[in-house]
């Protein structure tokens, strides 16, 4: 890694003592990347970009915020009204959370479709899931900070879930609250943790990248890189492709921030928190809705909580549950269909989570919950039964074949 030669004497002097330039050159410039990555591979860098946006806007919001139940709601409105461009910071941060989750969800489903979790990338996948879990914790606590009605009641409902655990449940809840109800100590510790967890996320993102650069990127064909003819250097090919992706993301993200900033929000959160008045429908932010639906699908409180956490925990075992050695769904005709159905099941769960649990919704929620968990044993069986299509010899092979037929094939965009 070190021992690179640089023309610039100062850079060389620094690099001989601290190899930052060698590392950068090794892992951000020369880093050999499969040449056939499609646009779904943009979402990792887009998620990283959103993390930076959240950190930057968050720091400046923190300079103007005060975690005290008596003034928190007013302080957020003070940011919106009296702080210079405070409304912009706040709307960027608030919608940034949603777009961060959109990027991460697409990133996860891309990994699922192309089998990126399979050997040798099990730890890469697991680290990603830990990041996702930490994101959920951070987002949940961030949503409590404006101290609106949904902040307060969302916090009450979600923290109360832990009371379902036998013996230790009540102690955990008291510890989370810092008292005997959601109150000022709760807000204070949530603020502290909302500041701490993103730093942990950054550390894990670093590990995620180290693991990625060790096993190297998967690709739409899901086959291993055979040699230098299969790869291109990260810079300039993927740096410019990622920049273009960031431009497209910004167009959508900023359209929401400037023209419909409360699109993902709940009107109730513009009503100050009131422990005496319960809103008619308590529901979490959209990115939690599928899990909220699973929680409510089980008639038993402890069972619901276990199912909800289980729905995420089970993803960690995916590399060992999936018995197929073929990674990409491109060569797995039945898995491909199961994948799309699984995606629809997740969307249906999200819809159920957004509705009051009455009538048909209860039934649909239960069927979808069963379908969600059925996906995993099905994946194991499928690997045994399914006959995959023949895999190409190498990444370069189909490219060469396409090249002989003229300019018709554009493998880098089409997967």
């Amino acid at each position: 890694m070190s021992g690179q030669k640089f023309d610039n004497k100062i850079i060389q002097w620094v690099d001989d003592r601290l190899p930052i330039f060698s590392v950068l050159k090794h892992s951000a410039v020369e880093y050999p990347t499969p040449k056939n990555l499609n646009y779904w591979w943009n979402f990792g860098s887009l998620a990283g970009f959103m993390l930076v946006v959240m950190l930057l806007t968050g720091i400046f919001l923190a300079m103007n915020y005060a975690a005290n139940t008596a003034i928190a709601f007013g302080v957020v409105e003070h940011i919106m009204r009296d702080v210079n461009y405070g409304w912009l910071l706040r709307y960027l941060h608030m919608n940034g959370a949603s777009f961060f989750f959109i990027c991460v969800y697409i990133h996860i489903f891309r990994g699922l479709y192309y089998g990126s979790y399979k050997a040798p990338r099990e730890l890469l996948w697991g680290l990603g899931l830990v990041i996702y879990l930490l994101m959920m914790g951070t987002a949940f606590m961030g949503y409590v900070l404006p101290w609106g009605q949904m902040s307060f009641w969302g916090a009450t409902v979600i923290t109360n879930l832990f009371s379902a655990f036998p013996v230790v449940g009540d102690y955990i809840v008291t510890l989370l609250w810092g008292g005997f109800s959601v109150d000022n100590p709760t807000l204070n510790r949530f603020y502290a943790l909302h500041f701490l967890l993103p730093i942990v996320i950054c550390a894990l993102v670093f590990l995620h990248l180290v693991a990625l650069h060790t096993t190297k990127s998967n690709n739409p064909l899901g086959i291993d890189v055979k040699g230098p003819q299969d790869t291109i250097p990260f810079h300039p090919y993927y740096t410019i492709k990622d920049l273009f992706g960031i431009g497209v993301l910004l167009l959508i993200y900023l359209s929401v921030v400037f023209f419909d900033p409360n699109l993902f929000g709940d009107p109730d959160n513009y009503v100050p928190a009131n422990p005496m008045v319960t809103p008619p429908h308590i529901k979490p932010e959209w990115y939690f809705l599928p899990f909220y639906a699973i929680l409510r699908a089980i008639p038993d409180k402890l069972g619901g909580v276990v199912a909800m956490f289980g729905a995420i925990i089970i993803l960690f075992f995916l590399p060992w549950i999936d018995s197929s050695k073929v990674r990409s769904a491109k060569f797995r005709p039945i898995f491909k269909q199961v994948f799309w159905i699984f995606l629809v099941v997740c969307l249906v769960l999200g819809y159920c989570g957004s509705q009051p649990p009455e009538g048909q919704i209860v039934l649909v929620g239960r069927v979808a919950t069963a379908a969600y968990f059925l996906f995993f044993p099905l994946l194991w069986v499928l690997g045994k039964l399914e006959k995959p299509k023949p895999l190409p010899q190498s990444i370069a092979a189909p490219v060469l074949k396409g090249a002989s037929a003229g300019h018709a094939a554009q493998p880098m965009e089409k997967a």
Binding site: W87, F258, D268, Y270, V338
Partner: protein, 253 residues
Amino acid sequence: MRKFLTSTFAAVVLAVAVPALADEGPALEHQSWSWHGPFGQYDKAQLRRGFQVYREICSNCHAMKLLAYRNLAALGFSEDETKAIAAEKQVQDGPNDQGDMYSRPARPSDRFVSPFPNDQAARVGNNGALPPDLSLITKARAGGPDYIYGVLTGFKDTPPEGVTIPDGMYYNTAFPGHQIAMPPPISDEQVTYADGTKATKEQIAKDAVAFLNWGAEPELDQRHSLGIKTLLFVFVMTVLFYALKRRIWADQH
């Protein structure tokens, strides 16, 4: 296998779609608001009329604690006019050098003075119901400005057959449950507009909602104009990135 999956999928889609179609609740009529859409901006004359409605009617019961008199500059009021508007109200200040609290006319830096000293007093003065603070009202209700307009104009003298409304309550088409404690607040010609606009009930309601929306989103004008400029810039940047991407990748095609 495949057939089973397809039919499961169809069952799930059907089960979700059917109850969604049967959704109940009165549909709100969409009004045309000057600030709608990316190019929308507030109509300052309308905001001033709306402020007049708030000052003469709404503010008798409803507070707007998040707004300060200095914010009225955005409606086109001069500094002297703002001072005069603020000075109509008294606020408690102090303690002074003698250690006494005292009353003084409000200043532009003061927040809008509330009609009642506290929630309890507000309830006593309003038949037990608490008039909500209006600072964020258009953001704090589903349907936003259309909903507020719907409530203001949705009063019916006689409820539909089979519906009984208790004493001190009123029938309203837009309010959830249709039973509202607020008496019909506006009627034709209830205010006299200085700019000669005809004060129909609908006009008064629209102007009031425009003012309330400004109170909830005072940054909207700046947000929209900055948004257009920012998106234009990002669009050009993205097109350039794309062109550059095509060029860099040309040798890979």
